[in-house]
């Protein structure tokens, strides 16, 4: 079990690096849209955070505070990604929520800086729920149009919804380090994350093929 667990741990890092390279390459060489640019920034930033977390874990140092960077980067980049795909009114809602969430988190960290060294449930909740809503809005928008970034969207919806539940209970699970069932839950999270990365990879292939066929 521990071999499979480690395999997924490294698989995620490798997939993140591959995806970052693929998206960075398409951004530079292909005529990319604003949404794709935001997504590329997201995947590269997440790759750096994940890489740092893996390195810290290897040296057995605390890497939990990196989760805050992960959630905030994810929220900001994916909000901008969806904003680029939305209609005028929907864009206004994204702007409003982006500012509201960042201000709320700023106030919270200013008043209780200790939260930085554990899972912050409010942070997890308010940075994930808007993304799930955006994802559903994007699917609704795509009903009568040619779909754009549907694989990324499906990945965001499935992974972020499930991982939110896991992370919200993160503090509770962190108290039970030696429990096998808890290890299984984190393993499940890794499997879902690998699937999310796979969907992102498929999306890249679709983008690449459509650009190729056009040229």
């Amino acid at each position: 079990m521990s071999i499979i667990n480690d395999f997924f741990e490294y698989l995620i890092v490798v997939m993140l690096i591959i995806n970052s390279c693929l998206y960075a390459w398409s951004c530079r060489t292909l005529k990319s849209s604003a949404a794709l640019n935001y997504f590329t920034v997201y995947i590269i930033a997440i790759c750096i955070v994940q890489f740092a977390a893996t390195v810290l874990a290897m040296y057995e140092k605390n890497n939990l505070y990196l989760s805050h960077f992960y959630f905030i980067i994810q929220f900001v980049c994916l909000s901008l990604f969806f904003k680029a795909l939305f209609t005028k009114t929907q864009k206004k809602i994204v702007n409003f929520l982006l500012i509201l969430v960042l201000v709320l988190l700023g106030i919270q960290y200013y008043t209780t800086p200790d939260l930085f060294y554990q899972f912050n449930n409010l942070e997890i909740f308010i940075t994930s729920i808007p993304l799930i809503v955006y994802s559903i809005i994007h699917m609704y928008n795509s009903l009568n149009k040619s779909p754009r970034y549907m694989y990324i969207n499906a990945g965001v919806l499935i992974y972020i919804t499930t991982s939110t539940l896991i992370y919200i209970l993160g503090n509770f699970l962190a108290t039970l380090i030696d429990n096998i069932a808890v290890t299984n839950i984190w393993f499940l999270n890794k499997v879902l994350y690998a699937m999310y990365m796979l969907l992102i990879m498929i999306e890249w292939k679709m983008i690449y093929q459509s650009v190729k066929s056009k040229s």
């Binding site: 699917m139 499930t162 429990n179 069932a181 839950i185």
Partner: protein
């Protein structure tokens, strides 16, 4: 006591696993729901567009049918009402010319009338023939097409190689459509393609027939024409669809244009 806490922890973790699986299924269901709804909506839209296109096609086909009927009527009227009357005028003038009592001036005037009447008769005959080639009705498609090629090649440097097989199963109105298609193809090749060597083949197939037309002209952009075809090509397309056939066009500057019409039946 410690045991109790551990059991309740186990229960919470168990509930969490089910919660995760539940969320995966719900979100997956949501994605699939949107995917299939989208497909359904698009199917409906495609259906709507197809109905619209079918309607337009029917209108075009009816226009062509009405046009042919009207041409036939005008040709008939030209023959019955004008040509026959002009023949009477011509005959009467000839009778008068034979009369010895008329003077030179009158004779000249009568000759003038005869000349104009003959030319008008010739024009009326030509117009009627163009409107509805009588040879098609009397001798069939093969002879009519050969006469059409002769018309284009006589007194010009244009050459038309042809191989026309007789299609017995074809009815009169469909023969006329093929004749019009050939006429239009030759006209286009000469007028727009500036071609001087044409080739037409009409071959019988096990089911239906195949018409292949080639020219050595300057060609045209097929993709551009697909979006915005001229009246000539549109007319050919409509006639092909009346014949229940398929039209394939290939064109390039080097090889000229090739039109292939495949019909697996003899029209509707």
């Amino acid at each position: 006591m410690e045991n109790d806490i551990s059991v309740s922890q186990e229960q919470i973790i168990g509930a969490l696993v089910y919660g995760i699986i539940f969320l995966v299924l719900v979100t997956l269901g949501l994605v699939l729901f949107f995917y299939y709804s989208r497909r359904k909506i698009i199917e409906k839209e495609v259906e709507k567009v197809n109905i619209k296109l079918d309607h337009q096609k029917k209108i075009l086909q009816t226009t062509i049918e009405v046009q042919e009927k009207e041409r036939n009527r005008i040709a008939q009227d030209l023959h019955d009402a004008i040509s026959s009357k002009l023949n009477v005028v011509s005959l009467t003038t000839n009778v008068l010319l034979g009369d010895g009592s008329i003077n030179t001036e009158q004779k000249e005037a009568l000759n003038h009338i005869l000349d104009i009447t003959t030319r008008t008769l010739e024009s009326a005959r030509k117009i009627a023939h163009e409107l509805m080639p009588p040879i098609l009705d009397k001798f069939g498609l093969k002879v009519a097409l050969e006469e059409l090629f002769d018309e284009f090649t006589s007194n010009t440097s244009i050459k038309i190689n042809h191989n026309i097989e007789t299609l017995d199963e074809l009815d009169k109105s469909n023969e006329l459509h093929i004749f019009r298609i050939a006429q239009e193809l030759i006209n286009n090749a000469l007028r727009h393609g500036k071609a001087d060597l044409l080739q037409m083949e009409l071959k019988k197939q096990s089911q239906g027939f195949e018409l292949i037309f080639k020219d050595n002209g300057i060609g045209f952009d097929v993709n551009d024409h697909k979006k915005k075809s001229g009246i000539g090509l549109q007319n050919i397309k409509s006639r092909v669809s009346i014949l229940n056939g398929q039209l394939f066009v290939e064109s390039s500057k080097k090889t000229g244009s090739i039109f292939t019409i495949n019909c697996h039946s003899y029209g509707y």
